[in-house]
């Protein structure tokens, strides 16, 4: 089964009755919003990385941080814990 990013779309096609039916889904498929970093405000402290429960936030080569689209569940802890308000949650469709 091919993995798509929209959970609800797949929910229509399959029934999660069989054992292991949820396997093709990634943790991020149920997400409502994705965090976005404002690079002008970010001081690259790494608090968002520390407090991410799913280990979805990773460090890019230039020292800033980004969220893995497949892993992020959109809980918003990074948005809440950022001291400088550099993270905003951008809602998805």
């Amino acid at each position: 089964m091919e993995v798509t990013s929209k959970f609800s779309k797949k929910m229509m096609e399959c029934s999660l009755i069989e054992k292991g039916a949820a396997k093709p889904f990634m943790p991020g498929d149920r997400r409502k919003a994705l965090p976005e970093w404002d690079k002008d405000r970010c001081i690259r402290c790494g608090l968002c990385y520390i407090y991410c429960p799913d280990g979805a936030v990773y460090r890019t080569d230039d020292g800033f941080f980004e969220a893995d689209e497949k892993m992020c569940k959109g809980c918003g802890i990074c948005h809440r814990e950022c001291w400088f308000g550099s993270i905003s949650m951008v809602e998805e469709e």
Binding site: A22, M26, P27, R30, R31, I43, R44, C45, G46, L47, Y49, I50, Y51, C52, P53, D54, G55, A56, R59, G63, M71, K73, G74, C75, G76, I77, H79, R80, E81
Partner: protein, 228 residues
């Protein structure tokens, strides 16, 4: 480069042992955050670790619904209790008996930890792994679904539990008894209780009773702590 060269995470190794694909935790899960930092401390030993639920639903004589992570290596045995207070009442939320009983039962190292203080949790885990004999770590993991609060406030609620003295962070070993996070200016207990929707029916009288009980527990703890 094994460690981050940044301000905040340069105390932690950057290698992740926790695989988020293999869990189905809710968004903002406190247990997932605690387990992630536990795995960072335990490193390769995690392959030998065993997940358990306490036999008969009882741990140290008190009924609980917690999950245990047991790690054994040679003489070292670490029991990690991930407590999310499933079905807990107000009395359970403000009084934790299990660490005290564990300390009395002859565990070599007993500590309480919270995922809101990750470096504290990491240090305690490392200490437990270095201690010969049994050790016990009790982690209070806020649960957005069970406690009914917004998932983005998980870390904040965990921090308020410590700041309001409802869940003190301390460690007991052979020859030392330390409070690792000091709460000199405590937060109101009502802040912590009212942040959780599950306690929305708690009356002011019950809150007053609870806060006196918390103060009593805290003064008991202070008696045990050695002056520096």
């Amino acid at each position: 480069m094994d460690k981050f060269s940044l301000y905040v995470p340069n105390f932690l190794p950057c290698k992740e042992y926790f695989d988020p694909k293999k869990n189905n935790a809710c968004p903002g899960c406190g247990i997932a955050l605690a387990v992630r930092h536990t795995y960072k401390a335990v490193e390769k030993l995690i392959e030998k670790a065993v997940w358990e639920t306490p036999s008969g639903g009882e741990l140290f004589g008190s009924k609980t619904d917690v999950s245990l992570l047991k790690i054994k290596q040679g003489k070292t045995e670490v029991i990690i209790c991930l407590d999310n207070e499933a079905g807990g009442s107000l009395q359970d939320a403000i009084k934790k008996q299990m660490p005290a009983i564990a300390a009395a039962e002859g565990f070599k190292y007993v500590a309480t930890a919270s995922p809101s203080y990750p470096f504290d949790l990491y240090d305690k885990m490392k200490k437990a792994l270095e201690t010969e004999g049994k050790s016990y770590i009790h982690i209070l993991c806020p649960c957005p679904v069970g406690w009914q609060f917004e998932p983005e406030t998980t870390v904040k609620v965990g921090r308020w539990a410590v700041e309001s003295r409802a869940f003190s962070l301390y460690e007991v070993g052979s020859g030392f008894y330390n409070q690792t996070v000091k709460t000199l200016k405590p937060r109101q207990l009502s802040d912590y209780i009212k942040a959780q929707e599950r306690f929305s029916e708690v009356t002011d009288e019950q809150l007053a009773e609870a806060s006196t009980a918390v103060e009593k527990e805290y003064s008991k703890l202070l008696e045990n702590i050695q002056p520096e």
